[in-house]
Amino acid sequence: MKPQQIRIIGVGGAGVRFVDRLASATGQWPSVVAVDTDAEHLDVSQASVKLQIGEGRLRGNGTGGDASVGRDAAEDDREMLRNVITGAELVIAVAGLGGGAGSGALPVVLQIARDEGVPTLAFVTFPFAFEGHERKSQADRTFATVREICGGAIVVPNDRLIDSVGAEPVREAFDRSARVLGNGIRALWTLLVRPGHVPMGLADLMNMMRQCGQVCTFGYGEATGPDRAALAAKRLLGGPLLGHGRLLATARYALVSVAGGSDLRVNEVRAVLDAIGGAVGPDARICVGSVADDDWGEALSVTVLLSDQWLIDTAAELAPAAKTEGAAAKISPTGGEMKQVSLEFEPVGNKGRFRNVEPTMQDGEDLDIPTFVRRRIAVDR
């Protein structure tokens, strides 16, 4: 996938901050878009495209935390949003849920992409507990909408970014949230646009989403120096994002990406995978990709997307059939050996009962193929 085929759209104050990291980290990324109602926020953004929504309504001010205002602002400028989305192959929409602009405008952005037939991923954070109940329930409401219209959602509860509440200043907590999310998005982007040693693409990602019910969380570790592989893995496994490795142990599916500069060595990738292999449960299915890209300089980063128990309502009730399927591709408990599992993606040609009838064509699209397949909407089986 080419960089220009992906639009990374930061929506609202937090969303813009997250994509900013990524825009400033690598310079010229034409596909990074910042969307906000707040003109001051946009002024300082590094994004290559800045869209101020709801100007007629808000005159460049914030939404005051009201999601309905954020939504109306986005609706006002639907065409402007559509223009940046049209023609893309993938939209990654990034937002912090709980506020006004992010919560209100994110569903509008996703819906436009869906209407345009562009696959979507939502990358969202949930508010810190100390932000209060109102923002939490606002985030829940938005997320219920988002998960119905996006192809997949990567969710990070902000509380997972800090080990103990109160131990660090609030400002640092938010900064850390932005840094980790920004790096995660950057790693995801790298994974999709740079052909790696072990390639992994949108199909793998969407399959992963499908397997874990459209919603997953992510873990991230990064390190430099001679021992960077072991260190990055340690930071990933020991960090709060994955519950100090607990989430990895219970995950049913995980997608692992190792990224580094062009000096990334095979034994480094292996070291990371060994460490992760030792931490996952015996029935987990793992999909691996690795990529070398000069943008990463001397750093090595490990990004893990994984199904998240707390979001999958009844993972324990998994049908027996699915369990055997998982076992067939399990990783040896010793963790010594890890192979890339080939995961099936819903074949686009599968038409079921319409197999042998004249296809219903519209604008070159075969409408007999399930809509969710063509629109790449992940479905939890």
């Binding site: 219920a144 998960r147 009730e317 009962r353 409408l367 399930p370 809509t371 939890d380």
Partner: protein, 409 residues
């Protein structure tokens, strides 16, 4: 009052229906009905004449019995993705300034408008007068006797592939019965479910069937768009079967039992047990995945229709909103889904323009057959029967039907 009853036959994708109706004092009454699940029909078209004939025979036999009539002739509903409409204008000079437009000139203009170039495998199924126009004066309703130099007429022609239209007729032929007329399903359902007031105010009628979705749009009581897309309830079922890896019959059951056109986030975590059947061990699925699959398909289908309509009519002109009928209208919250796609109020349309058994008047899936009864009775009222298509008949059949204008070739 003793006109012969009309038998309406719809060989649908899901079911074959025969309704017997007659004109009584208070209106059109359905006096008999027969029904049989269809086989040999895909996307609204007969693909297996023998199998379809078995269903038709059974449906007609039941209708004969319940109405206590002997059926010799039927009106047949026809549909299919190959059926399209085109608008065209025809003009003639008005010869006699003093006496104004003559009936011959009106007929002449209509004939010219109707003579569109079609590929040789296609034939015109219906043609409807939209507006007359005298010189600069647009939208003249009755030009007869009016003064002017040039009379023009805008017509909407519905055409389809002859061989495919005839497949349905062949089924009836094989049972040694006559076909009195062949009528597009979309025209029928509109007749059954909307009132003249709604047609005047502007209305979109959407008949969502098993394999086809037909639409008819009226503005100011003029038919502005007519056609269909070969997508229907079967697609929803098929998407569910493939998406959840369950057998088609279970997918159909799932759709009917728990399906919803719009997602229900409040129930997203609920799991539904899909029972086992031969070759299928049974499994649980989440309501969220069911909703996601159904909503994606419904949303897309409605948008496809909307896109087609936008070429022919401005949605601002639709004062009476969208009326949904056909079996697909039974899907919960389909009206809400249509409201959000079209940005218009939407409601479910029952075939209330006929009276009879509650199963019919309260069944959206009988809209086409009920409308076809109305069509047939209107035609017999004016003594119209199926004419050899020489293009000269220009019956005033639809004239009566749609209050004033339109003609069948």
């Amino acid at each position: 009052m003793a006109r012969a009853p009309v038998v309406a036959l719809e060989i649908g994708t899901t079911k074959t229906v025969a309704l017997v109706g007659e004109q009584q004092e208070g209106g059109v009454v359905v006096i008999g009905m027969g029904e049989h699940p269809s086989t040999g029909v895909r996307k609204g078209e007969v693909v297996d004449i023998e199998n379809a004939a078995v269903c038709v025979r059974s449906a007609l036999a039941a209708a004969e019995k319940s109405a206590d009539v002997a059926i010799r002739q039927v009106h047949l509903a026809v549909t299919g993705g190959h059926i399209h409409s085109d608008a065209n204008r025809g003009s003639v000079p008005v010869a006699d300034r003093e006496h104004g437009v003559s009936a011959e000139e009106t007929a002449g203009a209509e004939g010219i408008a109707r003579s569109i170039q079609l590929p040789p495998d296609r034939e015109i199924l219906h043609s409807f007068v939209q507006y007359y126009c005298l010189d600069e004066q647009e939208r003249v309703q009755r030009p007869l006797g009016m003064e002017g130099a040039v009379l023009s007429v805008d017509m909407l022609m519905l055409h389809g592939v002859s061989a495919r239209i005839h497949n349905g007729v062949r089924v009836v032929d094989s049972l040694l019965l006559d076909v009195a007329d062949v009528v597009f399903s979309g025209v029928c359902s509109a007749l059954a479910v909307v009132t003249p007031e709604q047609r005047k105010a502007g209305v979109v009628v959407l008949d969502i069937g098993g394999g086809m979705t037909e639409y008819a749009v009226y503005v100011g009581d003029v038919l502005m768009a007519l056609g269909g897309i070969a997508v229907g309830g079967d697609h929803v079922t098929n998407d569910l079967a493939l998406g959840l890896s369950i057998p088609p019959a279970r997918a159909e059951g799932l759709k009917r039992e728990v399906g919803s056109a719009l997602p229900r986030p409040e129930l997203a975590g609920r799991r539904i047990a899909v029972p086992a059947e031969v070759g299928f061990a049974g499994r649980d699925v989440t309501l969220r995945s069911v909703d996601t699959i159904v909503n994606a398909r419904v949303d897309e289908s409605l948008r496809s229709v909307r896109r087609r309509l936008e070429g022919a009519v401005s949605l601002h002109q639709i004062g009476a909103g969208v009326v949904l009928t056909g079996g697909g209208a039974r899907l919960p919250r389909i009206a809400e889904a249509a409201e959000s796609v079209f940005g218009l109020p939407a409601s479910i349309g029952l075939p209330l323009n006929v009276t009879g058994p509650a199963a019919v008047t309260e069944g959206v899936e009988y809209a086409t057959a009920a409308g076809l009864v109305l069509y047939g009775l209107q035609a017999s009222k004016t003594g119209e029967t199926r004419q050899p298509s020489d293009g000269g008949g220009l019956g005033s059949l639809l004239d009566r039907l749609f209050d004033r204008r339109g003609a069948r070739r």
